[in-house]
């Protein structure tokens, strides 16, 4: 895809996600039509950016950073604790549609890792216990 097309795609995809909370299949097909691309190409491009969802997500989106700084601060322990607690693997949504768990790249707070985000809220220097505590309050 051309750079300009990618920009247009990103803009439209953001709008769609704001409306539906994710990018439904028929919208992908429409994007494909508008940009004269196959729906596989659009799907691939959306997958490239971790901020887009092509399936409905849970009410809360939990993001845990595993880039190098956070990783050095044991982000994997946080991740394991959260996975155990939610019984979810990265990329999955819980059956009750409450939580979607994501492992993401650097969130820009490398000095204060590990970092976990609940929707737009950032939690820094988080311990496994604290992470679970925050989530337990959301039930």
């Amino acid at each position: 895809m051309q750079k300009e097309d990618t920009d247009i795609l990103l803009e439209m995809a953001h709008d769609i996600q704001d409306t539906y909370g994710y990018i439904p299949e028929k919208e992908i097909a429409e994007l494909a039509e508008k940009l004269s691309e196959s729906r596989a190409t659009i799907y691939g491009a959306l997958e490239f950016y971790s901020m887009f969802y092509t399936e409905p997500t849970g009410k809360y989106i939990i993001r845990i950073c595993d880039s190098i700084s956070c990783y050095m601060n044991n982000s994997n322990e946080v991740l394991e604790a959260v996975q155990d607690y939610l019984k979810l693997e990265a990329g999955e949504t819980s059956d009750d549609k409450l939580f979607t768990l994501e492992v993401v790249e650097c969130l820009g707070h490398c000095g204060e890792g590990p970092v976990m985000m609940v929707d737009d809220r950032l939690h820094t220097q988080i311990s496994p216990g604290r992470a679970v505590e925050i989530l337990s309050k959301l039930h």
Binding site: E25, K26, A29, E30, S38, A40, G44, E47, F48
Partner: protein
Amino acid sequence: MINLTVDNKEVTVEPNSTILEAASKVNVNIPTLCFSDDLTVYGGCRLCVVEVEGSDRLRPACNTRAREGMEVKTHSPRVREVRKTLFELIIASHDISCELNCLICNRQNSCQLKDVAEDIGISRMCLTPGADEERESDHSSHSVVREPNKCINCARCIRKCEEIQGVGVFAQASRGPETKVTTFKDRGMGNVECTNCGQCVVSCPTGALHEVYHMDQVWESLYDEQKHVIVQTAPSVRVALAESFGEEPGTIATGQMVAALRRLGFDRVFDTNFTADLTIMEEATEVVNRVTNNDNLPVLTSCSPGWIKYIEHFYPDYLQHLSSAKSPQQMFGAVAKTYYAENAGIDPEDLVVVSIMPCTAKKFEASRPEMNDDVDYVLTTREAARMLKSVGVDVCNLEPEKYDEMLGVSSGAGDIFGASGGVMEAAVRTAYNMITGVNLQEIEVTPVRGLEGLKSAEIPVTDDLTLKVGVAHGLNNAGIMMEKIKAGEEFHFVEMMACPGGCISGGGQPINTERSWREVREKRIAGLYDIDENKELRLSHENPKIQKLYEEFLQEPGSSKAHKLLHTEYVTRGVPGT
């Protein structure tokens, strides 16, 4: 013109040529992987890097233009070292475990990784294969299997499907080391708008894409005493099979192939060309009727199953334009399980019909419910070659033998079905006779021949009728043709073939890693026209065995019996969400 040196040899090239092109002019072979002469340049694998005097960075030869005065070093110590490292990284991503051992890989003798390893003199392999997780193979399709463990992310399949086929089944998703080639929402090839054409298979440099094998089932039938196993061979197989045994593309090996298949154990060896003649009888009858009644023109051909699935997905509003005639493969199945079984006194239950096809989509076609299992198994040309090798049959050195007569006699019109424009030419030869009662003076319809993507011709038939015909091959061209038709361009009859060049370069044909696509296609096509030219019988309606089949069994072309057995229907598929 631009003058430069490649490895100290002077060379002059056209403006805008790449270093790769310049090098090949002086016979310097630069290893490439993601490059393919029929696709746009991708520049992803970097194996083709070269050193350019005065520049620190190494440049990819496939993606760098030759400039005046350039001094290129293609095999300097630095280049060779970098290439080896890159290759190791690529191999590490191409997970070779014991299970994926080269000895059992489908690309045993056409693996481009092996070629490149030889070209760059690989003598070490330090990196361990990379895939931490076993990536699951995609078995969702009737025609093609994808084994992502062997994928090196060269994007050739993506470009082939998009640029040449206009379908766009694959895309790259995710990024960095997680980058993978996948289908829409990981659904698998069998659950998206894939046409089963197999062009991605013949584009892949590795064994990551291959056909769904029917070899085991065929072996089982051959070993089963209860079964009467017959085989049909498509037109294009005879000009390609010999390639798997080291011969040039286009080598005609009809008689040797027949002899070889008898040795393999088939009870009868028949010819799909016979039913190609039958297809012409039915299709030409339909064309004549529809042209006379101005009924849903243009008539679109229906023998390429990749094209059928394409129109079902992308132009379902035009399904009523398709000829209702089944393809030669399926007509063969229908005739074999009725006429042949009756005559030979065989219970159709005990009769196994195998086809050898240049095509992967034929596997899907045979499985369509409308075709009620008339054809039991479909082997690609490659599978047939593997089976023959495994029993030590040296095809090319056998004494030629003849097809079994009943369903084995064919006209040259049947042979040329395998080349783009051939079905049209064959149909015109017969339709002309059906309308005028005499044969064409000049039976070779040359404007519809050749590798031009879109072709057309006007054939004067009577004072009031000049047949306007069109031809497209490669699905992207078929799409362009459909747009023309939509926009109102008028044709009586249009031939559509899914694969570029027609069946001769179908997705089931031998994969030639040494020659350009154009050369391979031209030679195989030349082989087919050669056969036609040298045949006494060149018109489908003059085939005595076809005439006999109508007399004894089908009555006449277009009869209700013919309709029941030899015609079919299509399915609106669309693309979900559009």
